[in-house]
C-alpha cells in the first residue's frame, strides 16, 4: 500500500517523548498500537509528517490498584492486558468484558485504551464503560499534567478535548461504592470482530435500603456523534425505587436522548428501538451483580 512518507521516532523515556511531542505537536501523531491510525493513513485520510511510537515507554504501561484512588491504567497498556488483568476483573469487570470484545486477539495485543478513546469513534468499545465508571483522565504535556473527567473528553465526532501537545497519560477508575455495579452491553451483526451497531455502559448504585436508586449513569455508543451519557434520564431515575417503572423510564429515556443516524451497520429506527433493550439488560445485570455481592457478603 502506498502512502505519503512520514518520519518515525521511538522515544525510550517519557521525558524524551514529551519534549519531542511538544516541539512537533502540529505535524506529529502519537502511534500507540496503530490499529486505528495506520488504517487512516493507508486510506489516505490522514498524512502526518511524524509518527511518535510510544510503545517502548515503560512509564506508560501497567495497571495498579489503590483502595482510595481506585484502579489506575496507564495509557499505553494493551487492551489484551486489560482483558486479562485480575485487578481489572475484580474492580472493573465490565471493562475487562468490553476489552475482550474489542477486535480480535491480534488486534487486542496491539491496541491500547488511549488509542481507543483518542480515536473517538462513537462506536468504540471502551468509552461506554469508562463513562459509566465516571473515570478520570490524567492528561500529560511537557512539564505538567491535568485531570479531566471523561464525561468532558469527547467533544464531537472524532474530536476530543486534548489541546495541542497534550496526551492521555492514564485512566483512573474510582473505587465502586458498596451496592454499585457497572455493566456493558453491545450489539453487532455477528459475535466478534465487529464494530458495534450499538453499545451501552450502565452504572447503578442503590441506597442502603437496597431498593432505591441512589445514582445511575447510562453511556450510549453509536447513537450520536460521540459516546455520551443520557444525562436527563439519569437525573430522572435518581431516587426511583427499583421496579418496572424504573426500567420503563430508563428505556424510554435513552430512546428520547439517543440521536442515531442510518448507516451501513444499522438504521436509526433499529438503533432507537434496541438501545432501550440493551439498557434494560445492562441495568438488570447491574442489579444481579449487586444482589450477588450482597448475598455473598
Amino acid at each position: 500500500m502506498h502512502c505519503e512518507p512520514f518520519e518515525y521516532e521511538k522515544p525510550v523515556s517519557l521525558r524524551e517523548f514529551e519534549s519531542l511531542y511538544a516541539a512537533r505537536a502540529d505535524d506529529a501523531r502519537i502511534l500507540a498500537g496503530g490499529t486505528d491510525l495506520m488504517v487512516l493513513i493507508k486510506e489516505k485520510l490522514l498524512a502526518p509528517r511524524l509518527l511518535i511510537d510510544i510503545s517502548d515507554l515503560h512509564e506508560l504501561r501497567g495497571i495498579s490498584w489503590d483502595p482510595r484512588q481506585g484502579l489506575t491504567i496507564m495509557a499505553g497498556t494493551k487492551i489484551a492486558e486489560i482483558e486479562r488483568s485480575t485487578l481489572v476483573k475484580e474492580h472493573a469487570p465490565a471493562l475487562a468484558y468490553a476489552a475482550a470484545n474489542l477486535g480480535s486477539n491480534q488486534v487486542r495485543w496491539m491496541a491500547t485504551m488511549a488509542g481507543n478513546i483518542c480515536h473517538a469513534s462513537p462506536a468504540a468499545e471502551t468509552p461506554p464503560v469508562l463513562l459509566a465508571h465516571d473515570c478520570e483522565l490524567i492528561i500529560g504535556r511537557q512539564g505538567g499534567e491535568r485531570t479531566l473527567p471523561i464525561s468532558r473528553f469527547f467533544l464531537s465526532y472524532r474530536k476530543t478535548a486534548l489541546e495541542s501537545g497534550e496526551y492521555v497519560k492514564a485512566f483512573r477508575l474510582p473505587p465502586l461504592p458498596a451496592r454499585a455495579a457497572v455493566a456493558y452491553r453491545f450489539k453487532g451483526l455477528r459475535r466478534a470482530m465487529e464494530i458495534d451497531m450499538l453499545n451501552i455502559g450502565a452504572y447503578l448504585e442503590l441506597c442502603e435500603d437496597g431498593q432505591t436508586v441512589s445514582d445511575v449513569r447510562l453511556a450510549m455508543g453509536s447513537v450520536g456523534p460521540t459516546t455520551y451519557r443520557a444525562a436527563v434520564t439519569e437525573k430522572k431515575l435518581k431516587g426511583m425505587p427499583i421496579g418496572e417503572d424504573f426500567f420503563a423510564a430508563a428505556c424510554g429515556g435513552v430512546v428520547q436522548e439517543a440521536t442515531p443516524i442510518d448507516d451501513v451497520r444499522a438504521s436509526a429506527e433499529y438503533r432507537n428501538r434496541v438501545i432501550g433493550v440493551l439498557t434494560r439488560r445492562a441495568l438488570e445485570e447491574c442489579l444481579e451483580i449487586i444482589g450477588a455481592r450482597r448475598s455473598a457478603a
Binding site: M1, H2, K187, L189, A192, I195, A266, S267, Y270, V274
Partner: protein
C-alpha cells in the same frame, strides 16, 4: 476388494500440506520471487458505465521505476470461460461496464511505485447510464451494456424448459403454494487473494504461477489473448488458499501479469488486494425467483413452476452454465413429474457473478425447501414426512433425463432427523426457538466439457521406481479441498502401500497429463477414476512378474501391506519393491496411464447437457436457531447433518468440507451482502464491512455419514464439497419459521428484518383477533 476392507481409504489421513500450511512453509503464489521481478498494479475505472474516450499514460510512463504501462487496446481479444460466448478483455477495451473495472496496468520496480503511477494515468470517459438492478437494465430504452449481445436489450441469456404439464398438474392439485424469493449478492471470501507471476524465458516461452482452479483453461486463454502457441506456455498452480469457484475463471490479473511481463521483458507479479478480489468477484448470482409447488392430498409433489431473473453483473463468465444448472436443480432430490422453468440472466453494471460453491443449486434449493416446509405445515404434515415421501429412491431418472445411478438421500433425511430429535422438537419448542429441516444434493462432476471435445476429462500417469517410489501425475488441482491427499490415498490403497510414501504431482500443465480442472465437484470421481485406472495398469505389469517369482497365477495376487501375495495362500508373498526392481531390471521404466470419460447419454436434452453427472451426492440437515425477539438477532445453535458422499475417502476432509459448507451457507443466510451504490460502486468491499461468520458465531456441528457406496465410483466415492451447502440456508430459514412463525423469503435475515417482521406479524394477529 470388498467394500469395507480397506487399509487407507476411509481412514483419516493427515494431509501433507497441513503442517506446512501451519508453519507457513506451503508455497503460495505471493511467496514466489524472481530476480528482477516487477510488481504490477491495476488502474480501475471510477465510473460504472462509460465509453473510453482516451487514456493518457505518458506521465505514468515517465515516473522513475515504471517499466511498462498497458492498456486494453494492446490485447483487444475477447475471452470467457464459456468459449462460445467470450465477453471479456484483459483490460477494458473501448467501454467500461462496472465501477472498478481494470482499465490500465503498470509494472514497476515495487508496488508503491506502481501504485503511484496509477494515479498519474488520465482517462477520459463518456458516461453512460448505470444499471445496478435487472429491473433498471431491462427498462424500456435501456442502453445495451454489451452492444454485440445477441439477446434483446440486456438479457445475457434466456431459456424456457417444460417437462410434463405444470398447469394441468396444478389444476389437479390439492394445494399449490407460490412465493417470491430473493437471494443476495455474495462473494466467496476465500482467504488468499488472487496472485499470478508471469515470466518469459529467452526463448519466448511463458511460465505462469497462479492460484487457480483451472490450469487448463488458463493455458487456453493465455494462448488466445497473447496469441501464442499453447506448447510455449507452462501453467503452474501454486498453493491455493481457497477458491470455491472464485478462481474457476481466468482472472484479469493472470492475463495482465503475462502481458506486462512480455512488454517489460521482466517477470511480473500481480497480487490482488481484498478490494480487487471483491471487484473480480464471480460470486453467487442474486436471483429473484417466483416459485410455485403443488402437492396432492398425500403430499406428493405434482409440479414445480419456476421463474427466475438472475442478476449477472457486467460480464458473461459462467453465467450461461449456471442458468442451466438452476434448471437442472429443480428435478432432484425429489421425484417430480411436471417442471416448468423460465429464466433469464441479465447484464448489470456490477462486478460479474459466477461460480460459487454449489452453483445453480443454492438459490432454487432455498426456494424449494422453504416452500415444501410451508406446504407440509399448511396441510398438517410433518415436513420430514413430506420430504421423505417425495425423496427419490436408490436410483432414479428425472423427467429431464438426468440419471441418478446411486442415492441414499432417504437415509440422509432419516439420520439427520433422528440424530437431531427433529420430530420431537419441530413445532414444540418455545417461542424464539426453532428447528428446521432441509435436503439437498449436488452433481459429482459434469458429463460434458465446456467446449466440444471427446478427449478424456481426466488423465493420470503413475511412475514407479526404486529410487523415487510411487509418483502420481495428474492435472487435477488441489485448491485446499485435499484432492492431492485423496488421489494419493487411492494409489496407496491400490498398491498396498502407506499413504505417506506416495507422491502426487498435480496442477502443472507441463508435468502432469490433462485434466479439466477443479469445479463441479468432479475431482474425486473423475481424477480418482483416472488414478485408479493408471494404478490398475501398473499392477497389470507387476503381477505377472510377481506371479513367476511366487509360482502362482497373476489373477490370484493381491497387493497389500507392502507385498504381493496369493489370496489363497498368504505365505506365498513377495515384497512390492522387490517386484518393482525385477520388473525394471527386465523391462525398463515402469509407468502407466489411466483416464476417465464420464458416461455419455444419448438423446436430445433441453438445457444442453448441463446437470448430467456420473453420480450425485446428497445431504440433509436439521438446524436449530434461537431468535432474540427483542434485538432481532438470529443465532444458529446446532446443525445436525447427514451426508451421502458415497464412501468417504478421507473422512476428516469430508467433515471439513461439510463444516465449511455450513458456515459459508450460514454467512449468506444471516450476514453477508455486497452493497452497491447508485453509481455502481461497491460500498463494503472489505472484510471490515462485508461480514463473514467468525469463530465466535460457529454453531455446534454434528456431521455424520450415512452408510453408502457407489459401486461404479472409485472406491465408492461421490462428491462432498458442494452438496452439503445446499440445505444450509433453507434449514436456517425453516428453523426461523419454527421459532417465530415468520416465513422469510429474502436473504440475509438481519436483526432489523426480524424486528420488522415481528411487528408486522403482531399487527396481522391484532387485525385477526
Amino acid at each position: 476388494m470388498s467394500r469395507h476392507d480397506f487399509d487407507v481409504i476411509g481412514k483419516d489421513q493427515k494431509r501433507k500440506d497441513g503442517p506446512k500450511k501451519v508453519k507457513g512453509e506451503h508455497e503460495f503464489a505471493d511467496d514466489i520471487q524472481f530476480p528482477m521481478m516487477l510488481h504490477g498494479r491495476i488502474k480501475r475505472s471510477d465510473i460504472g458505465h462509460a465509453r473510453i474516450i482516451s487514456i493518457d499514460t505518458s506521465k505514468a510512463e515517465a515516473l522513475a521505476g515504471v517499466k511498462a504501462v498497458l492498456v486494453g487496446s494492446e490485447a483487444p481479444i475477447k475471452y470467457g470461460i464459456v468459449p462460445q460466448m467470450p465477453t471479456e478483455y484483459a483490460l477494458a477495451y473501448q467501454k467500461v461496464r462496472f465501477y472498478g473495472e481494470p482499465v490500465a496496468a503498470v509494472a514497476a520496480v515495487d508496488a508503491e511505485t506502481a501504485e503511484k503511477a496509477l494515479d498519474l494515468i488520465e482517462i477520459e470517459y463518456e458516461a453512460l447510464p448505470v444499471y445496478t438492478t435487472p429491473e433498471q437494465a431491462l427498462a424500456d430504452g435501456a442502453v445495451k451494456i454489451h452492444e454485440d449481445n445477441k439477446f434483446p436489450g440486456n438479457i445475457a441469456y434466456e431459456s424456457d424448459q417444460n417437462f410434463g404439464d405444470v398447469d394441468e398438474a396444478f389444476k389437479n392439485s390439492h394445494y399449490v403454494l407460490g412465493k417470491v424469493f430473493k437471494t443476495s449478492y455474495v462473494n466467496h471470501v476465500f482467504m488468499e487473494p488472487h496472485c499470478a507471476i508471469s515470466k518469459f524465458d529467452t526463448n519466448g516461452e511463458l511460465f505462469i504461477w497462479s492460484t487457480t482452479q483451472i490450469p487448463h483453461y488458463l493455458h487456453n486463454h493465455l494462448s488466445k489473448v497473447l496469441q501464442m502457441d499453447m506448447n510455449k506456455i507452462h501453467v503452474k498452480v501454486t498453493g491455493v488458499g481457497g477458491a470455491f469457484g472464485g478462481k474457476g475463471e481466468v482472472s484479469n490479473n493472470e492475463l495482465i501479469s503475462a502481458l506486462l511481463a512480455r512488454k517489460a521483458g521482466r517477470p511480473v507479479k500481480v497480487l490482488y488486494s481484498r478490494k480487487d478480489v471483491f471487484l473480480q468477484h464471480r460470486g453467487r448470482h442474486p436471483i429473484e425467483m417466483r416459485v410455485k409447488v403443488g402437492v396432492d392430498k398425500e403430499g406428493m409433489i405434482t409440479g414445480i413452476d419456476y421463474d427466475g431473473t438472475m442478476d449477472g453483473g457486467s460480464y458473461g463468465g459462467w453465467g450461461l452454465v449456471i442458468l442451466f444448472y438452476t434448471a437442472a436443480m429443480l428435478h432432484l432430490p425429489y421425484n417430480v413429474k411436471n417442471v416448468r422453468f423460465n429464466a433469464r440472466r441479465i447484464y448489470t453494471n456490477k462486478p460479474t457473478c459466477g461460480a460459487m460453491r454449489g452453483l445453480g443449486g443454492v438459490q432454487p434449493r432455498f426456494a424449494l425447501e422453504s416452500l415444501l416446509d410451508q406446504i407440509a405445515i399448511d396441510i398438517g404434515m410433518s415436513p420430514y414426512e413430506l420430504k421423505k415421501k417425495n425423496a427419490i429412491g436408490f436410483s432414479h431418472e428425472t423427467v429431464s433425463g438426468q440419471v441418478v445411478r446411486h442415492s441414499e438421500f432417504r437415509k440422509c433425511l432419516d439420520q439427520a432427523v433422528e440424530n437431531s430429535g427433529y420430530l420431537e422438537k419441530h413445532g414444540n419448542l418455545p417461542f424464539g426457538k426453532g428447528i428446521g429441516l432441509a435436503g439437498g444434493y449436488y452433481i459429482s462432476g459434469t458429463a460434458y466439457t465446456l467446449y466440444m471435445a471427446y478427449k478424456p476429462h481426466s488423465s493420470a500417469m503413475i511412475r514407479v521406481d526404486n529410487e523415487s517410489g510411487v509418483t502420481v501425475y495428474c492435472g487435477a488441482t488441489d485448491i485446499g479441498q485435499g484432492s492431492d491427499t485423496v488421489l494419493g490415498m487411492m494409489a496407496a490403497e491400490k498398491f498396498g502401500l502407506p499413504f505417506e510414501t506416495i507422491h502426487v504431482v498435480s496442477g502443472d500443465t507441463s508435468l502432469a497429463p490433462f485434466d479439466l480442472g477443479t469445479f463441479a465437484s468432479r475431482v474425486t470421481v473423475a481424477a480418482g477414476s483416472a488414478v485408479c485406472k493408471a494404478a490398475d495398469n501398473v499392477l497389470k505389469k507387476l503381477k505377472p512378474v510377481a506371479a513367476i517369482q511366487l509360482g502362482v497365477s497373476p489373477e490370484q495376487l493381491e497387493a497389500r501391506h507392502g507385498k504381493f501375495y496369493s489370496v489363497f495362500e498368504k505365505s506365498r508373498e513377495i515384497d512390492f519393491w522387490k517386484v518393482v526392481e525385477k520388473y525394471i531390471d527386465a523391462h525398463g521404466p515402469l509407468t502407466a496411464t489411466g483416464d476417465y470419460t464420464p458416461p455419455r447419454r444419448t438423446g436430445d436434452f433441453k438445457g444442453a447437457n448441463i446437470g448430467h453427472s456420473p453420480t450425485y451426492g446428497f445431504s440433509a440437515q436439521c438446524t436449530e436457531v434461537e431468535v432474540d425477539v427483542e434485538t432481532g438477532e438470529v443465532r444458529v445453535i446446532r446443525v445436525t447433518e447427514a451426508g451421502d458422499c458415497g464412501q468417504p475417502i478421507n473422512p476428516v476432509s469430508v467433515e471439513g468440507q461439510v463444516e465449511g459448507s455450513i458456515i459459508m451457507g450460514m454467512g449468506q443466510a444471516l450476514y453477508e451482502e455486497l452493497k452497491v451504490g447508485k453509481d455502481g460502486r461497491l460500498l463494503n468491499p472489505s472484510l471490515h464491512d462485508y461480514k463473514i461468520p467468525t469463530a465466535a458465531d460457529i454453531p455446534e456441528l454434528k456431521t455424520t455419514f450415512v452408510d453408502s457406496y457407489d459401486p461404479e465410483s472409485p472406491f465408492g466415492a461421490k462428491e462432498a464439497g458442494e452438496g452439503p451447502i445446499q440445505p444450509v440456508i433453507p434449514a436456517i430459514f425453516n428453523a426461523v419459521y419454527d421459532a417465530i412463525g415468520v416465513r422469510f423469503t429474502e436473504m440475509p435475515i438481519t436483526p432489523e428484518k426480524v424486528l420488522k417482521a415481528l411487528d408486522e406479524k403482531k399487527k396481522q394477529e391484532g387485525i385477526r383477533s
